[in-house]
């Protein structure tokens, strides 16, 4: 994934500045008035002299309220790549603008942008993410009138495999450690895929057992059956795992040993829980995390 992002960044950066994007309208007084009112700027000079406030520069080339995707724009292109990689959230972190002169009523402006830098993955308070830096220059004809360095953080919102949007889950899923499945244990995994939490039950004496095995320890029978658990239980013990990394998961995670209502114990992640709220004895209900077509993991959620 990291390689994919870096390769895309290099490709987009090497392509240089995108095509010039012209403003929808020339610089005009109605829009200047609207902007001054919205900002609360009462300086009369702009209207008197037919000048646009410099901080409005970016306004002229905005794409409207419902812009179509523009693959020729370097920031859009890079954002699409990061979106695909699961970094679906965005926050602007830096915006430095330089104004070379005032824009005048009636002038036609256009902007060109280029990708400067993509750095990551970084661990931030918001989550793991990449910083994307672009430079933009506004022109009137061939004259540069303003420029801007703009940096955003595209990040993966914190949460676990199950707490993440589907677009992201694919990225994480490939990393999840897969269970070794044998003839003795395949019933369990077929169950999770079907939304059932199955407990092995001896086909002769009815003893329940987890983890399962081929021979009943009570009566020695090798004919095993299963029942579908009610899916409720209590936290018998738990761990808040903070370090080191766990493939396919964003830390911290809470992993609990749950004593099921039926009496057996089972390990699973506690989803969506504040680690500080988890207690031994807390009531939980099973949930299922579909990793992909082959694997569904059992997990737990705290009951209110």
């Amino acid at each position: 994934m990291e390689d994919t992002v870096n390769a895309a960044a290099e490709r987009i950066r090497a392509a240089g500045a995108g095509p010039a994007r012209p403003a929808r309208d020339p610089v005009n007084l109605p829009m200047i008035r609207n902007w001054l009112e919205a900002i609360g700027d009462r300086n009369p000079r702009y209207e008197q002299d037919g000048l646009a406030p410099p901080a409005m520069t970016q306004v002229w080339t905005m794409r409207g309220l419902h812009p179509a995707a523009d693959p020729t724009d370097p920031l859009s292109a890079m954002s699409a790549v990061l979106d695909q990689a699961g970094f679906t959230s965005v926050v602007a972190t830096n915006c430095e603008q330089t104004y070379h002169r005032y824009l005048r009523d009636g002038e036609r402006v256009e902007v060109r942008s280029r990708l400067v830098d993509v750095s990551g993955p970084k661990r931030t308070a918001l989550g793991e993410g990449w910083f994307v830096t672009t430079d933009s220059t506004w022109y009137v004809g061939a004259e540069a009138v303003a420029s801007m360095t703009f940096r955003v953080l595209r990040f993966r919102p914190p949460g676990s495999v199950a707490a993440t949007p589907a677009s992201e889950r694919t990225a994480a899923a490939s990393d999840v450690l897969r269970p070794v499945v044998t003839r003795d244990t395949s019933f369990f995994w077929a169950g999770t895929a079907a939304g059932e939490l199955r407990i092995q039950r001896c086909g002769r004496c009815g003893r329940l057992r987890h983890p399962p095995g081929p021979v009943c320890r009570q009566c020695g029978a090798d004919r095993q059956d299963h029942l579908v658990a009610r899916g409720t239980g209590e936290v018998f013990s738990f761990v808040v795992h903070r370090h080191p990394p766990v493939p396919g998961r964003r830390l911290p995670i809470v992993v609990a040993l749950v004593e099921l209502t039926e009496g057996v114990r089972m390990v699973g992640e506690v989803l969506g829980a504040d680690p500080a709220q988890v207690r031994i004895g807390a009531a939980v209900r099973v949930d299922f995390v579909r990793v992909d077509a082959e694997l569904t993991l059992p997990a737990w959620r705290l009951l209110p």
């Binding site: 450690l177 013990s237 795992h241 903070r242 997990a299």
Partner: protein, 395 residues
Amino acid sequence: MISGRVAIVGVGETEFSKDSGRSELQLAVAAVRAALADAGLAPTDVDGLVTFTMDSTAEIALAREVGVGELRFFSQVGYGGGAACATVQQAALAISAGTARVVVCYRALNERSGRRFGRVSRAISSAPTSSGVDNAWHYPMGLGTPAATVAMVARRYQHVFGATGEDFGRVAVAARRHAATNPRAWFFERPITLADHQASRWIAEPLRLLDCCQESDGAVAVVVAGAEQAADLRQTPAVITAAAQGSGADQYIMTSYYRDNLTGLPELGVVGRQLWQQSGLVPDDVRVAVLYDHFTPYVLMQLEELGFCPPGEARHFIADGAIELGGRLPVNPHGGQLGEAYIHGMNGIVEAVRQVRGSSVNQVAGAGPVLVTAGTGVPTSGLLLAPRGSGKVGH
């Protein structure tokens, strides 16, 4: 019966580091040569080799490099660090059965600069074995590091017995105090306070960084021979007063979560009962204990499981510094794996031998037996070592 008939007659180590700069085979060779030199034996005297299944150096590769010719006994013990004392037990069994005369037990690992055990291992998780199937109930669920697997038990232990993070911390403080005066220790001259422990970051709650042993590169070898031959060798023999392996009911590797209680280490209880039975000794006879300290809570639980105090009482047992030098039962005078190095428990056997010889840098006075344990949370092993003639060897 092994008791009194076999001894550790030589010990050897490499330096303990974070980056050995050598292959694990090179490390193994260096440790074995040092151990043979310590014993006053030649490679050609060796006819048996024992190591861990986790060791990357096969007996035959080591034999080729060291110049051991024919081997009549070779064996590997499983279950990670639980193998440590069992390698010596295997050697003792072979020697007392007449199968071999001189057996070298070894462990060499670039655990810090190479494969780090503290990380989540995809290979362990996906092994096409019964252990791989066992791991299927834990690793995919996000429970995949040694620290996390221990933390699950430690949390329950706290809940049931009222032990706290500070109780765990006292184990680390003792280890680092001892390491501070051991020049071979990685943490030589770097003691910590309980406040340092409490300020260290969480790894897997309720375990903090300073509850976890360090990661090390290095190798250790010990030479085992019959007691009669030992008498003619260079060093004071460390006589094997008792040696045992143990696996508990419903045993798993690090995840024995399906027993009634989660507050003990029954596999070590199996070892302990054998050690006392074989030797005729009781816990009060022990002068020094070398307890496997990969994670601090399991040191407390070992004290209970071996009978030094009742279940749940270890936090009171250690509260007044009992496990520090000068205390009632000094534990890990070399600094343990928390302080000296993580050589999968084998460096603890070396320390025990030095305590028997009277040559440890942190020597504990007296002639009583020295107890050594191996990795806990897994099928494990233990030894009682003593100078010749000490202890109530009977039966």
